[in-house]
């Protein structure tokens, strides 16, 4: 007699359950892959739109630099050279290249082939090399943004003329220039050395980068000491009472307040109440500091908490005061964690846009800010401004600026990871 009849296994059920298991696992994998795929899509779309911005199209023109027009007195001094009308010289050169342009409109579109600030390129070329005066030199002149877009392939010839920024006649000229090997592309240095401009071919990010640096410097100077001292106080000294409870709840809630609300705070208090200057990095830095403060406090507290109590007990046992224990022993040991949190907080502040819109950092600023009280803009706001511009040339500039911003963020995060790996101690 069998005591235990063999277990009846419902094979079909088991199969169904195993199939469900596999399916479930696939859903999970699909979810992760979706996220990764979207990230890839985002980065490819930005890089594919933006990499062309690092190059700029130039037109090689034979420019006749007459002594009589540039430096009639023949002094050869820089001021005299700089005062000449290079616009006229440039236009002469264009007309010489294409004598067929006769009507007013034709001439205008001919002059439009080169960028609006091309005359300054010419002037700089002459100033750098005064020996050119009196000769006919072949000089690379920056092309206008439309020509640049066409050469880079963003403007198709197949579109009807009315919908196309580069008209048929200009296409003809460009074809001639290309056949003569007169169109070249160079690395776009100006993108990294100039401030914003209304003209895409002249617009650069240096102004925004400097503005970001000033703003972040203010943010760091304010929120690092305040954040760390708060964390030390709450973690090491504060008595457990209602007041500290309120502070803690408050910090947790501040961390989740939408960033735009901090902008409203800055507008109402810093600008309207204290009358601080609009658009200035000092106000932007203060607003971002308030916003980043909770992040730094929370990270610093976690780092302080991770230092084992034995360290404190040992220091106290040697006769150190509580303050000495914390500042001589606990704080240095928690420093890597605190710095990591600070860098991550700064990265967050660097990418923040919305609160800065509220305090007027969206103004068009064509100068590189010289101090924390000057009107300035920051990198993400610059991206926002360019993204709003209708010109085709700004699309690639926007993407390129995003690439620069992401590069900064990657570097900051890499430093944070490195710090964590190199210095963090597991107890």
């Amino acid at each position: 007699m069998e005591l235990n009849p063999p277990l009846e296994i419902d094979k079909a059920l088991l199969k169904r359950r195993n199939a469900a298991e596999t399916r479930f696992k696939l859903y999970g994998l699909a979810a992760v892959l979706t996220a990764v795929l979207v990230l890839g899509l985002l980065l490819t779309s930005i890089i594919s739109k933006g990499y062309t911005a690092f190059e700029q199209t130039y037109i090689l023109l034979d420019v006749r630099l007459d002594q009589a027009t540039i430096d009639p007195k023949g002094t050869g001094r820089q001021e005299d050279l700089a005062a000449a009308s290079y616009r006229g010289i440039l236009r002469d050169a264009l007309r010489e290249q294409f004598p067929e342009a006769e009507s007013r409109n034709e001439k205008r579109s001919l002059y439009g082939l080169v960028g609006s600030a091309a005359e300054y390129d010419l002037r700089n070329a002459v100033l750098q090399n005064p020996k050119l005066v009196g000769t006919t030199a072949t000089i690379a002149i920056k092309a206008s943004d439309d020509v640049d877009s066409y050469i880079k392939g963003f403007i198709s010839r197949d579109v009807v003329q009315a919908d196309r920024k580069v008209k048929d006649q200009e296409l003809g000229w460009l074809d001639t220039l290309e056949a003569d090997d007169r169109i070249i592309t160079k690395f776009n240095v100006d993108f990294f050395t100039q401030a914003d401009s209304r003209e895409p071919e002249e617009a650069g990010i240096l102004g925004a980068v400097i503005g970001s640096l000033y703003t972040l410097a203010i943010t760091l100077a304010l929120c690092f000491p305040v954040g760390v001292l708060t964390a030390i106080y709450l973690e090491e000294f504060a008595p457990r009472n209602r007041w500290t409870d309120i502070i803690e709840v408050n910090i947790n809630n501040l961390a989740a307040v939408p960033s735009i609300v901090f902008g409203l705070l800055g507008l109402a208090i810093f600008l309207n109440f204290f009358g601080l200057p609009r658009s200035a990095p000092i106000v932007g830095g203060m607003v971002l500091a308030l916003m980043t403060l909770p992040t730094i406090i929370i990270a610093s507290r976690a780092a302080l908490k991770a230092v084992p109590p034995s360290i404190r007990e040992a220091a106290l046992g040697m006769g150190a005061s509580r303050m000495q224990t914390v500042f001589h022993h606990v704080f240095p040991l928690a420093m890597p964690g605190i710095l990591t949190g600070t860098i991550l907080g700064m990265a967050q502040a660097l990418g923040e846009t919305a609160p800065l819109l509220m305090i007027g950092m969206v103004a068009f600023i064509a100068d590189i800010p010289g101090s924390i009280n000057d009107a300035a803009t920051v990198l993400p706001v610059q991206i926002f401004l360019w993204a709003d511009s209708p010109e085709r040339g700004f699309v690639e500039k926007t993407s390129a600026a995003i690439m620069v911003l992401l590069a900064f963020l990657v570097v900051m995060n890499a430093i944070a990871v490195l710090l964590r790996k190199r210095f963090e101690r597991r107890w």
């Binding site: 996220a35 001292l229 609300v261 901090f262 109402a268 009358g275 403060l293 993204a387 963020l409």
Partner: protein, 460 residues
């Protein structure tokens, strides 16, 4: 630049104070018949604090209040001399004075009156600056000498320094509270002024939003209606779409990462998700406006649907993508804190992994996951840049995700960016919306944190 010079002068004095204080202590310990109370650096710190703290506080206070005081003086002078000006005109005039003083662009011709006002403004600012600088330096020197004088072997320098540091720490810890108080007060005051002009019931229940008001009598402008329901509806719609994207993807990837993925896969996928979390929102906004929205519009055309180029769908989808890592990391935490014993019991009963997850772990972690979703929602509601760049401005009351809607945050930005007079209902409306946003996100947050905490206690 002058301020920087003063700042560095003070820093120099502080360092000098440290060195002198320490030197004095060294000198005392040399020929004193009983040793010093504290270690040497504390005497230096003691002097340095007395040398620096009062003057730095003075400088900070001056920087905070002086611009407002200078402005008040200009406007009071102006209203004394021209009684017939309205307060708005005075504000404009004062702005011109300030802009002229800083070499900016002004809205009127520079006449002798304006120049005189500007000169007196500049003169006042310079005088007050120099007065402040003199007072700061003398405070510093006075602190230096008086503290040097008090240094003697019995001075409890360490205790005094520690006392001051602990006061500084306490002050720092109240800044978080002050920030909240500042937010609440600045929002409430402006909101109350707004509700003086527009009734609360219209704001909360009105179905029509068009904040453009006519500036002059004869101008044909909007009626200036402030019914915010379309904004709430738009915000809800976009938040809802983003949750539809983020919750399943975030939750499933958290499950896969914590329960199924091997070490190698995790090491590869986790940093990628973190990158997704670290991308600035303005980048997502650009992506939504230039890649996703045109894609939806074109594919909509393919099926004969008219999709707005600022559709709620595009903004919501991209916002959902932004929130995926947020939900996934939060729910990862929550599921990891479900005790191992529950899993073991389920496996012992013969359940497969997926059965354990769906029937045991998820129900146990549900409160935490709800909390995570609430936090994510409050984030989506307060998110600004994606919707500013990818959602529309027109306040449509619709539930169709293919149409353009606008949100609370978009309206705050459009109402406040650019030059506006500060007292109009239009700008004040932004503060009312801000207050609402603050209250809603705060409430969601408090509830979420409470839910999560309660749940954690259950298993701890």
């Amino acid at each position: 630049m002058e301020q920087l010079a003063l700042f560095f002068a003070l820093i120099f004095l502080i360092i000098l104070g440290y060195i002198l204080g320490k030197g004095r202590a060294v000198a005392l310990s040399g020929h004193a018949y009983h040793p010093l109370h504290s270690r040497l650096p504390y005497y230096g710190l003691y002097t340095a604090i007395w040398c620096g703290l009062p003057s730095l506080l003075l400088m900070a206070g001056w920087m905070a209040f002086e611009p407002a005081i200078a402005e008040a003086i200009v406007s009071s002078k102006l209203s004394a001399s021209n009684q017939d000006l309205t307060s708005d005109q005075i504000t404009l005039y004062v702005n011109d004075v300030i802009n002229l003083a800083s070499g900016g662009i002004i809205s009127r011709e520079v006449n002798s009156d304006l120049q005189a006002a500007t000169d007196s403004y500049i003169f006042f600012r310079q005088t007050s600056y120099f007065a402040m600088a003199v007072v700061a330096i003398s405070l510093s020197l006075a602190g230096l000498f008086s503290s040097l004088k008090t240094i003697n072997p019995d001075l409890r320098a360490r205790n005094k320094v520690e006392k001051i540091i602990s006061i500084v720490m306490m002050v720092c810890s109240t800044i978080a509270i002050l920030t909240t108080v500042g937010i609440v007060f600045s929002l409430i005051f402006e909101t109350l002024r707004f509700f003086n002009k527009v009734p609360l019931s219209e704001f909360l229940f009105g179905l029509h939003w068009s904040p453009q008001t006519a500036l002059r009598e004869d101008q044909i402008g909007g009626s200036g209606s402030f019914g915010a329901v379309p904004l709430f509806a738009g915000t809800m719609l976009i938040t809802f779409i983003s949750m539809i994207v983020a919750v399943p993807v975030g939750l499933m990837s958290a499950i896969y990462m914590s329960e199924y993925a091997g070490k190698k896969f995790r090491a590869f996928a986790k940093p990628l998700l973190e990158i997704l979390a670290g991308i600035p929102t303005v980048v997502y906004g650009f992506f939504a406006a230039l890649t996703v929205a045109p894609f939806f519009r074109n594919s909509g055309e393919l099926f004969g649907l008219s999709v707005s180029s600022e559709s709620a769908l595009a903004a919501g989808m991209v916002m959902g993508i932004m929130i995926i890592p947020f939900i996934s990391s939060l729910s990862d935490d929550v599921m990891n804190s479900v005790p191992q014993s529950l899993r073991d019991a389920s496996y012992a009963m013969g359940a497969t992994k997926s059965e354990t997850i769906t029937k045991v772990i998820l129900p146990a972690a549900l409160p935490g996951i709800v909390g995570a979703v609430l936090l994510a929602m409050s984030r989506a509601i307060g998110e600004t840049m994606i919707v500013v760049m990818a959602a529309g401005l027109a306040a449509n009351l619709t539930a169709n995700p293919l149409e353009a809607v606008t949100t609370v945050t978009v309206q705050i930005v459009t109402l406040l960016v650019g030059d506006q007079e500060f007292d109009s209902a239009k700008t004040l409306a932004a503060f009312a919306l801000g207050l609402l946003l603050f209250i809603v996100t705060l409430a969601m947050n408090v509830v979420a944190l409470k839910v999560v905490r309660k749940y954690r206690e259950k298993y701890d």
